[in-house]
Symmetry: C2
Subunit: 256 residues, 2 copies
């Protein structure tokens, strides 16, 4: 089975020119089949503000009303995605930008309203691994923006970590998949102040312990839940690491 590397990179890295250039250099250097999923970043908030659209956040997550959906469609699907694509083309990578609506690669539904109405936010039903595999095997490198659609004409703002996990699962039928989550630290750390305290390996049992003793908390929990979800869906390997280490497989390895 052919190997593929699925890289997820946060919005913060792709919205600053220097860190973006660095990431694109490193992504271009990865050999073999590959795919990049990028987050949105703060530029959507900044642009929404200038357009007089209020950004409403609950627990650090964005509520996506109709005006906000237009902004994230512009910023994530247009500005961020197309600049990555053009930057990779300049590096000889035949990149192709995709939202979930493009070629219907990510089908989702609007998150049902419970305590909170998140607005136009998508929960993914299915990634079309077969379509992605056909594109990839003809030499195309997909670059995925954090947007899906509901098949009824609505785009939906969607968490990029989840898109990465679902896409990796969709590809696992066709490839031996390594999924790498890049963030600002060199891995999951015992002590966030000490970059040498990276935990090299986390399995279900170690995860339970790290949750119980509070080493893992906050935003790291959904990330690791996504990692386990991907592994259960057939992904071979999940790594959490820093953007400048994506070629090395250093960082925290997650296994079942």
């Amino acid at each position: 089975m052919d190997k593929i590397t699925v890289i997820k990179v946060g919005g913060k890295i792709v919205e600053e020119k220097e860190s973006l250039d660095n990431l694109l250099d490193r992504f271009a250097a990865i050999e073999g089949y590959k795919i990049l999923i990028h987050g949105g970043g703060r530029s959507a908030t900044r642009i929404a503000e200038k357009l007089g659209i209020e950004s409403r956040m609950i627990d650090g997550r964005r509520v996506t009303d109709e005006a906000t959906l237009q902004v994230v469609t512009m910023v994530y699907g247009g500005l961020v995605n197309k600049n990555i694509v053009a930057g990779l083309q300049a590096r000889g990578v035949n990149a192709l930008g995709l939202t979930g609506a493009d070629a219907n690669v990510l089908q989702a539904h609007k998150r049902p309203v419970k305590e909170v109405d998140w607005g136009f936010v998508g929960d993914i039903d299915k990634a079309d691994g077969a379509m992605l595999e056909r594109l990839i095997k003809q030499g195309i490198i997909p670059i995925m923006a954090p947007l899906t659609h509901d098949g009824k004409g609505n785009l939906l703002n969607t968490n990029a970590d989840t898109i990465a996990a679902e896409t990796a699962k969709g590809l696992a039928t066709y490839f031996d998949v390594t999924l790498t989550y890049c963030f600002e630290h060199p891995g999951v750390m015992r002590n966030p102040e000490d970059s040498t305290s990276v935990i090299k390996l986390i399995d279900s049992n170690i995860y339970k312990e790290l949750l119980a003793d509070g080493t893992i908390s906050g935003g790291m929990i959904p990330k690791i839940d996504n990692a386990f979800n991907a592994l259960k869906g057939g992904v071979s390997k999940v790594i959490i690491t820093k953007a400048d280490a994506i070629e090395s497989e250093q960082g925290t390895h997650i296994i079942l």
Copy 2:
């Protein structure tokens, strides 16, 4: 040789919900292979204004400085393109949005500075008909935004009529191509006030006469020049018509 229909539609039609819905219904109804190229429209000017970016126009055409390029990348590549894609998916059309940078389908160069510095505006070198043909033959319907790239990492604002002509030429190696330019009138008219005065057929000789007597002037000239350029590049048929007539082949037919 398989037939393909290349439809170019102006920005005005795609930025208003009612005319966009109507266009998408009609585009979805076209049988066989097809591809849509859309313009940008006025929304870029409106959004630029709100962001405090001045739109500089010369002879009705936009000068694209760096800030304006960001806006058109957001609006054309993100907002307009992705809404068309999602709208077509809802109609069962497996649409895929593309700028020229995506899969490197349209290679261009920055327009050289002569009397006017147009800024980040692209003149097209080549449309990759082979790549488009592969996508189309696997059931994908490309939806092209009016943006190209220079292969050095820069996106370029590019005239949609020209993209349509160059794309149609690129496809002519693989398909029997009909290129349809949609605009607000039912065709090229002898009398712009009289919708029954559509000129049914224009060839090179008739074109010279219509230019000489002033029937054809202004923005219609580059459109018809694009039509002749496409025909010389192997396109079988060029039609200029109203958006609600794209299935009928009514309107003005251009032949060599």
